[in-house]
């Protein structure tokens, strides 16, 4: 009996070791990115890289590694696509959670989940063959590959993600609140605006943060649709090169160990830090939120 117990203990120990793999992976990713980007950070300096606006990494005589254009492009694209996906996403969630009939609700939730799995490369492909020509004609541009195109496609892509996260948040609002509001004679739209959305607000906020994290890290769509010019964009119809796009497109061309190679890892590190912060922030808010609604028992 005693032997069995120690055996079980050993297994538990093994299990716990394996369980830390996720944490370890996270740590390893950080370590790898840090190690590879060390070269460029030491050579150029992180602040200088982030603040200068010249990105000519392949210039043979005078390569420049100013990441400002890339970062601004990423922020532009993220902001614009959030502008599209937040209203559509949240309102769709309100529809599913408050208006749809129970049976339809189940179906719609599954449907949203399924379409959120459509691979991003497909969205990028659709953007090229469908949206790019339209944008080009509409605005009379030399090329349809621009911030606007990639933002629209990214926005559409993020809608199901935000919808399903918001729907979860709305679902967590206890039905007693709804009933209480209806019992006081409130109408549906009053109940939704005054009671349900405020009660779910931090959940919706979490959904938006997570959505932002996804958009900023999304690669294929911006890679295929942004146009790729590494200058600070001045208008919506300018082509641009967001961080992910830069990494994906330039990685294949660099010499391993070069300053360019290292600076791409620095970009990865920046992206990693941003998304980790967003993700932890979202989890922090949602854990506080579930405590508030008494779900965290």
């Amino acid at each position: 009996m005693k032997i069995k117990t120690t055996e079980n203990y050993k297994i538990e120990l093994l299990f716990s070791a394996v369980s830390f793999f996720s944490l370890l992976a996270l740590f390893l990713i950080f370590l790898t990115l840090a190690k590879e980007s060390f070269h460029s950070i030491k050579e150029i300096g992180l602040i200088k890289m982030i603040t200068s606006s010249e990105w000519y990494p392949t210039d043979e005589e005078n390569p420049a590694f100013g990441m400002l254009p890339l970062i601004t492009a990423s922020l532009y694209v993220t902001f614009l696509s959030l502008l599209i996906s937040i209203p559509i996403g949240t309102l769709s969630a309100v529809y599913i959670s408050e208006f749809a009939k129970p049976k339809a609700k189940l179906f719609l939730k599954s449907f949203i989940e399924i379409i959120s799995a459509v691979p991003s490369v497909v969205f990028g492909f659709w953007g090229i063959v469908f949206l790019v020509p339209i944008i080009q004609k509409l605005f009379d541009l030399p090329t349809g590959y621009c911030i606007l195109t990639s933002s629209i496609v990214l926005g559409i892509m993020a809608v199901p993600i935000i919808t399903s996260l918001c729907e979860d948040a709305l679902n967590m609002v206890p039905s007693s609140l709804r009933e209480a509001s209806y019992a006081l004679g409130a109408e549906k739209h009053t109940t939704i605006i005054r009671i349900i959305i405020p009660a779910a607000s931090s959940g919706i906020f979490t959904a938006i943060i997570l959505g932002a994290g996804r958009i900023i890290g999304e690669t294929m769509v911006v890679l295929m649709l942004s146009g790729g010019s590494a200058v600070i964009p001045e208008s919506l119809t300018d082509p641009a090169r967001p961080i992910t796009s830069a990494i994906a497109s330039e990685m294949g061309e660099t010499v391993v160990g070069s300053l360019h190679y290292s600076s791409l890892f620095t970009l990865g590190l920046i992206l990693f830090v941003i998304t980790v912060i967003l993700s932890v922030l979202a989890q922090y808010i949602s854990s506080k939120y579930s405590l508030k609604l008494g779900k965290g028992r």
Binding site: S22, L26, S110, G217, M251, G268, Q283
Partner: protein
Amino acid sequence: MKKVLFNHAIKSIFFLNILLVILIVGFIFIKGYKIISLKFLFTMPYNSMTEGGIFPALVGTFLLTSLSIIFALPPGVITAIYLNEYVKNKHLINIIKISINTLAGVPSVVFGLFGFSVFVKFFGFGVSLLSGAFTLSIVILPIFISATIEALSAVPYSLREASMALGATKLYTIRHTVLPAAFSSIMTAIILSTGRAAGETAPILFTAAVFFQKNLPDSLFSPVMALPYHIYALMTEGTHPEKQVAIAYGSALVLIITVLFLISLAVFLREKRRRYVNFKH
């Protein structure tokens, strides 16, 4: 008046949302369905990618996803078991759960960088099936763990109690009661993760995928073609865009059908079981 407007606004926005998706998928379907044939699926590309099929890309995606599932399965299941069955310390659970969720939020291109630096360079696997599969397995790990935790926690606590009260050890209880009861939901988790792995492009961009390959991959260390990368490459690196776009339509449709089929299957199975479980307990 305000009320009517509000309700209509919400409804129309929702249906706009649905319509958009149908537009995208429908557009690709209409353009692509003529291209798909058995020949398209099962022949090699030739004539510098302007003719022929996508067979090597299909094989590559199949190999990549199945390998990555095989790699992700043991740590995924063990982590889920440990979190759901063993740990009592709330802080520990929180730390691991936060790291899983954070890992799920890391951009796929960062996984690509990591895979390149560690598997391709550090371990020296090169751009290969193995590197890609390892990278993909880390990408799907958080999804798989979350789904497996859900599967395990759906097994009623009373079953564990019953088993323990009969004098079974924890391990025996997990092996003979919890895992069998959760088996089908774990299968669902696997299908779900497969669907995700099949559609990922960025992680294999620098770790496994190549645009063109004469032969099918013959070892774990050979680079592979993959369906999502194939679409991307056809659109951006091709030399005969007007001819390649047709193949890209076909490939995109195959990819959509594959992924949506897997995910729908997983979601369908899960919902069906959820209803059954609710009914039963």
